[in-house]
């Protein structure tokens, strides 16, 4: 449904800032009717990709087709297929819920009875049905998000793009919103692409794409991604990571990964994990702040995937590291 090929985006340099490449030759395919989560650390290029996908920016190079339409040659045709939920709400807070819906519908050429029917359909799943006359700025964050999503559903989009839609929601609202989103995606056979950096959100997705430094590091189902890490992970938080790292590498014949102040030993068979923990504790009791055995979850996948690249780039020299710092600070709110 969404086919991204060799997408490259460069932000022009100015006198004080040199040009920076936010997307490097990115290729990604999202099949029809699938739910894809796009994740990556701040500055990974997610928001740049998002801006390009919703047609607010044109890239330096590469192509994007949505539902068979070239995004850059026929932007209007793609806009018809798409619903977009932005990180900063694209509703008018001074208007009521129903006024917002009506305005959005009119921008898509829906009026009168057709609007009424679509509005009922788009609101069916929400908790805002009896507050339609209320101004949006009087709603809680969770309900305001529902308005945003309902608004997009009015036009029966085939593709739904969401940029960190759960930012600022409490855990209950977050779960409720995602639950509704997954249900709607199945019922309406939509293709959903959602950016997120909360990995627990990705467990139910059909696929997870992980980006870093403008490159796609992995794109697979959550299960397949977790399988990369093998069976269990031993996570150690030592007092002085550098000392401990050396000691672990010397005493055990296993690859040790550094992530922040944590040391990780991946792909440990279940039978050996407990033994390994015991050995580490026996030798370095005073050095260890905490130690744990984990079933890999997507957070671990993220550490694994992004951490590995970090190590690789250090091995090849410091140059790639500087480009990473030059990248745009991503999670400042995106503006149209």
């Amino acid at each position: 449904m969404i086919i991204i090929r060799n997408l490259t985006h460069v932000y022009a340099g100015t006198r004080r800032q040199k040009a920076r490449t936010a997307l490097h030759d990115l290729t990604l395919e999202i099949p029809e009717r699938s739910f894809c989560i796009l994740s990556g650390p701040n500055g990974s290029g997610k928001s740049t990709l998002f801006r390009i996908l919703c047609g607010l920016a044109t890239p330096t190079g590469g192509s994007v087709t949505v539902g068979g339409h070239d995004l850059f040659a026929e932007p209007a045709a793609v806009r018809r297929l798409m619903g977009v939920v932005f990180q900063s709400p694209a509703v008018d807070k001074q208007l009521s819920i129903i006024e917002n819906l009506r305005l959005h519908a009119e921008l898509h050429g829906l009026r009168g009875a057709a609007f009424q029917e679509r509005a009922d359909e788009a609101l069916a799943w929400t908790d805002i049905k009896d507050r339609l006359g209320d101004r949006v700025d009087t709603l809680s964050g969770g309900l305001a998000r529902q308005v945003e999503l309902a608004k997009c559903l009015l036009t029966r989009p085939r593709v739904l793009l969401l940029d960190e839609p759960t930012t600022g929601l409490d855990p209950a609202s977050r779960r409720a919103f995602l639950g509704a989103l997954h249900r709607l995606q199945r019922e309406r056979a939509m293709t959903v692409l959602m950016t997120s950096h909360v990995f627990s959100e990705a467990e139910d997705a059909d696929s997870v794409a992980i980006m870093q430094d403008g490159r796609l590091l992995a794109h697979d189902t959550p299960t397949a991604l977790k399988a990369q890490l093998g069976q269990e992970v031993v996570v150690v938080r030592p007092r002085t990571p550098a000392v401990m790292l050396e000691a672990l590498r010397r005493d055990f014949d296993r690859p040790v990964l550094v992530h922040g102040d944590e040391l990780r030993i991946e792909d440990v068979p279940p039978a050996e994990a407990v033994v390994l923990v015991e050995q580490i504790l026996t030798r370095f009791r005073g050095e260890v702040l905490s130690i744990a055995i984990k079933q890999p979850d997507l957070d671990d996948v993220f550490v694994h995937v992004t951490g590995r690249t970090g190590a690789a780039s250090q091995a090849t020299g410091p140059t790639p590291q500087t480009t990473a710092e030059d990248l745009k600070p991503e999670d400042q709110e995106m503006r149209a």
């Binding site: 047609g55 008018d92 006024e99 921008l107 050429g109």
Partner: protein, 268 residues
Amino acid sequence: MSGQTTTALAPAVWALARREFVRFIRQPQRVIGSLGQPLLFWVFLGAGFTPSFNPPGMEGMTYLEYFYPGVLMMMILFASIFSTITVIEDRDQGFLQGVLVAPVPRMAIVLGKVFGGASIALFQAFILLIAAPFLDTPLPLASLPLLVAAMVLTAVGYTALGFSIAWSMRSTAGFHAIMMVFLMPLWLLSGALFPVAGAPMWLQVVMAINPVAHAMTLLRGPFYATPAELLATPAYLTGLAVVVVWVALGLWVSAVRVGAREKGAAAA
């Protein structure tokens, strides 16, 4: 859904313009502020300058009377320009990105804001127009449509100008600065405050190329002459042509700016 890819222009413009007006009416401070300021200007300056106002060829005219069309102009200027500040707010609050990704003609985004802003300006200017019969001007009834037309054209011209400036601005503070050094002088040198005739030569040149001065001609004329007389006056016709070009240019530049998407730079 029908085969066409973009929504028709008129319904989209109407929807966006209506939103502008509804938002305006829901902020009483805005209504009071933009109505009160020109009114106070008119009363205070008019009363203060009348004793010393005695330009050649305008004997017997009070400053209160001379300044009245100028205040109308000022009110339209302020209301139109202030309403385009909402372009920056819309962008800031996220509303604009939702409109940009909708399949509407880019011109609809411009016209929605421009007509919405112009209608707000006209709403206020029409309220001030209630004072017109109490002035000593002849104001032939037949000229009223020309006066209204001048007001509409001016309001659309200002909002289009404001839109094209506000589009790329990221802060309302910056917009205020531009307004003080660029838009205010357009009004000051339009003949709204003082007649062109007595001004120094260099000022007369500036005023001749100022589109707002030509709009001022359109606005002042109907108070003193019949449509037949006006349409036979070269200055009036020149003014009309200049203002029409101004409006068209403003709308065109705005639409081009809205249509331009941020482009990736050439590969490094």
